[in-house]
Symmetry: C3
Subunit: 195 residues, 3 copies
């Protein structure tokens, strides 16, 4: 999420439904950061946004409840209407709480893991490319991968890492599937090798 938001205009409203704890005791809320709105659960999803924001983020706990609330789809029944009201110019449907109440100061700045496999088998990591020393290699699944700027720089079938279009380090194989070639899946550790 944090890797994408800077491309969006101010006053964008992000409806963020990554909510495996739906129906449990997590809080739902509205975040205001760098003049953009975020609606979603307080489960850490907003920590990188708040941390990287240039202003001081604010947080409202959603207290409004819809007439019909399903047990397992609060994105549809509760968060979407709250986002829609923001889009209509209404204030957040809740009570402001200290932003510190949702922060995770002990979390690392980068997540040294594969976080997503896309439809082409490329493996996105949680490491911003800017946090990797120039020339450094990445270690994943027992392999050391060199950096390349583009796919077309490397021979067909070779694995490498590159800065993807959102600024994150991503592992790929030119004209191949990195997940198959390297045996990758979300959650696998990625290490920055000593230069």
């Amino acid at each position: 999420l944090a890797a994408y938001v800077d491309e969006f205009p101010v006053e964008t409203i992000f409806l963020c439904v990554v909510d495996p704890g739906v129906g449990g005791d997590r809080t739902l809320g509205v975040l205001r950061s760098d003049r953009r709105w975020y609606v979603g659960p307080d489960n850490g999803l907003f920590e990188p946004v708040a941390r990287r924001g240039r202003d001081q983020a604010r947080w409202w706990e959603i207290t409004w409840r819809p007439e019909n609330l399903s047990a397992t789809f609060h994105g549809r029944d509760l968060l979407a209407p709250v986002a829609a009201r923001l889009a209509c110019g209404e204030p957040p449907a809740g009570i402001e709480r200290p932003i510190a109440s949702i922060r995770r100061p002990d979390w690392p700045d980068e997540l040294h893991q594969v976080i997503y496999i896309d439809g082409f088998g490329n493996a996105m990591t949680g490491i911003r490319a800017a946090a990797i020393p120039p020339g450094a290699r990445l270690e994943v699944a027992g392999r050391r991968l060199d950096h390349a700027t583009t796919f077309s720089e490397v021979p067909f079938g070779r694995a490498f890492w590159y800065e993807n279009a959102n600024g994150l380090a991503e592992i790929a194989v030119n004209r191949g599937r990195a997940d198959d070639v390297l045996g990758l899946a979300a959650g696998i550790a990625v290490k920055i090798a000593k230069v």
Copy 2:
């Protein structure tokens, strides 16, 4: 289809292209039920809609034909233009037939099968949760599954069933894939265990 329609406003037009018999001798038509429109094949798709409707449904057989009709994509070439004309306020492009001509009175109210595996591996059944006695367990693939209200109620990795956000019984594993864990696929039988 029937599980979703009540959430939509009246005068909604549903373009329903589930048409494995395309090009065969099935009839295409327009259903009117509870002030909503449905355009699609007469292959049983509309039976639960007509059965659960609060008013008496009506049916028009589509007689209009486009200039160019492909053999295998009537959804694009024939049904979509008919739906578009309805959206423009025109009447159904066909001849009204008795609604009894498309009804399937011998069909059961619930389908005791897995009907769909979603992208997360959850297995939706054709059984409305309201038709299952409180506390009952579901039997599927040799396993008996307890009910839970939400994912977060059960430990990681445990299989359970719950009422999904459309009112259907659905089989899931908290933070796991029910299809992999239980060996599920569309068509597998699901039984309501005696309480």
Copy 3:
């Protein structure tokens, strides 16, 4: 691409991001053919469009560059803004070059391969059905497949080929997955059997 374009109105703008050479030395440009616009890389993607066009196609090499250009997503950073400017009525953001500079006259008219497996397991080929003699069978993966007009003409589980809704020969199994049943994947050879 060429199989679809005739269905679109004149002045349609196609944003064509099939760009495995992104960041390499391929040229990006704008094609004008049959009063439609195409924005994308010069990697052969536009050859069938230009070849089948009824008028003489024209080509502009894109010389405009955005302020921020990622290394691996020129579709987003460069081609999309160029297409947006065309949509606003501006001329192509580049310099006109001879159309011959992007043509591939030695390429065949049909590609005798599986080119795409869709979500149902159907295998689209690069052969236009109109280029296959009536009654001819297709050979693929060691099997000879008869022609059928629709799925419903053949028994459940039988493989066949048909003219799909875009005019291409496509290999399918009625109520089954052709990719699984026949062992198909993109790139596999497809031959027109002697009648």
